[in-house]
Amino acid sequence: MKQFSLLVFIDDDYPTNRYHEIICQESGLCKDLKFFDMPDDALDYFQRESTKPGFRMPDLFFVDMNMPRYNGFQLLEKLADILPVSQTRAVMLTTSDIPGDRVKARDYPQIVGFSVKPLSEEMLRSFL
C-alpha cells in the first residue's frame, strides 16, 4: 500500500495538530509525522537537520495560513532559504477559503494544494 514516509505539520493550534495526528494515524497512510506549534521551531529544526547526513526531505508540508509572526506564505519564503524549492511540496491549511489567497499561491511553485481545515482521510489520499 502506498504511504507517505514523512509528513510535517506547521500549525500554531495544538488541538488542530493533535486532531490531524489522529486522522493520519487512523488512516494508516503515514509512516512518520512531525508537528510544530511554532513556525520558528520548524525553521530552526530544518536549519539544523538539513545539513546532517541521513536527512529525509518530507513528502509534504502542511502549513497553516495564519500563525503568529508569519503567515503561511512568509513561512514558505523562509523555508526556501533552507530547503531547495524544487523538492519542497506544501499544502496550505486554512480555516476560511479566501479567493485572494488562492491567487497569491500561484506565485509559489512549491504549493501543491489548498485545504480548508480539518484534514480528512480523503484529502490526505488525494495528495498521495
Partner: protein, 432 residues
Amino acid sequence: MSAPNYTRYQQYYLWAIAITAGLILANQVVIQHYLAQKRDDARLINISGRQRMLSQRISALAHSYVIQPSSFTKKELDRQVHEWEQMHASLASGALSQGLISDLPEVQQSLQQMDFQVSMASDLLKTLEDLEVQQLHELQLNQQTFLLGMDQVVLDIERASDSRLTRIMIVEVLLAILALIVLALEFTFIFRRIIRALTQQNRALEHSNQMLEQYAYASSHQFKEPIQNILNYTGLLRRSTSKRQTEEQLAFVDFIEEGAEQIKQKTEAILQLSLIQSADLRLQSLDCATLIHEVAELYQQRLSRLGGSLTINPMKAKLEVDEERFKELWDRLISNALKFIGEDQQPEIEITGHSDGEHFIFSIRDNGIGIAPQLQGEIFGMFKQLHPRHYFTGEGVGLTLSKAIVEKHQGKLWLESHPGRGSVFYVKLPMK
C-alpha cells in the same frame, strides 16, 4: 472626536443665508429707490422740455392769429396756454415728483421767477383781439426769458440728478465691498468650519466602517478554528467511546455538536458578508442567462426527484458582473425558492429577465408558502428566520448575503409576495 453638532451647523447655515439675503435686499432697496428717483428726474426734465416747446408754440400761434385771425387758431391757442399754465403751477408746487429735485432751492427760485413770465404772457393773450405788433414783440421777449429760465431749471435738475447718481455709485461700490467682506467672513467662520467638521466626521465614519468590517472579518475568522476543534473532538468522542456511553451522553454530544455547527455556519455567514462588502468585485461583461443556467443545472437532480420544474425564459442579459458572486446570488435565490415550499407540493420556479433601457430586471417566481407583507421587510435581516429552526433548514443568511451581493453591484433586490400564493424576488442591476 466630538459628537457632531448638526443643530449648530444648521444655525450657522441659517445665519449665513440670512446675512447674504439681507445684503441682497439692502442692495435692491437702494437700487430701486434710486431708479424711481431717476425716473422722476427724467419726467421732470421731459416736462421742462415740453414747457419750452409749448411757450414757443404759443408764441407762433399768437403771431399767426394776429396776422390772420381764425376761431380754430384761437381755440388752439387757449388750450395750449391753459396747459402751459397748469403745468407750470404743477412744476412749481412739486406735485409732479416725490423726489427732492423740485424742492431744490435754485429750481424753486427759477420757477418762481418764471411765474411772472407765465402770468404776463397769459394776461397778454387774454386780450388777443387787441394785440398789436408792439405787444407781440413783448410776448416774444417774454417767451425768450422763459426759455432761458427753463434752460436753467433743466440744467439744475440734471446737475442734481448726476450728483445723486455719483452718490449711488459710491453706495453700490461700498455695498459690493461689504458683500465681499461678509462672504469672506462667512467662508472663514461658517462654511470652512462646517466643511472641516463634516470632513472630519466623514473620515471618522469611514474609519469606523473599516474597523467594523475588519472586526467582522477578524472575529469570524478567529472563531472558526476553536469551533472546528469542538466539532472535531465531539466527532472523535462519539466514535471512540460510543460503546461505553449511555444514550443520554450521546444526546449531549449531539447538542454540543449542533450548537457548534450553528455557530460555525453563522460565523461563516458573517465572514462571507464582510468579504462581499469589503472585497472589490471582479467585473466582467458576461451573459447572465448562461450563468443562471449553469447554477440551475446543479438543482436539476433535486427538482426531478421532487417532481418540480425550473423554467428560465430566454433573455438577452449581457451585464457587468462578478461571475463568482453572481452565481452565488442565483444559487441562494433558487435555493430559497425551493426551500419554502409546502408539504407534498411540487416546486415550480420561473426565472425571467427584461431590460428597461437603463437597468436589467430579473425575477424569480416560486409557488411556495409566500410571506405576509408586514414580514417582508424582515427577511433580508441577518439571521432572520420567520419559522422555527426545525421547520426549514438554514441559518437565515441567504437573503442577507443575496442583498449584499446585489447592492455591491449597485443594484436592488426586493420581493412581492402573498401568503399561500408564492413569492417573486426581483433583482435590478444597472446596465451601464
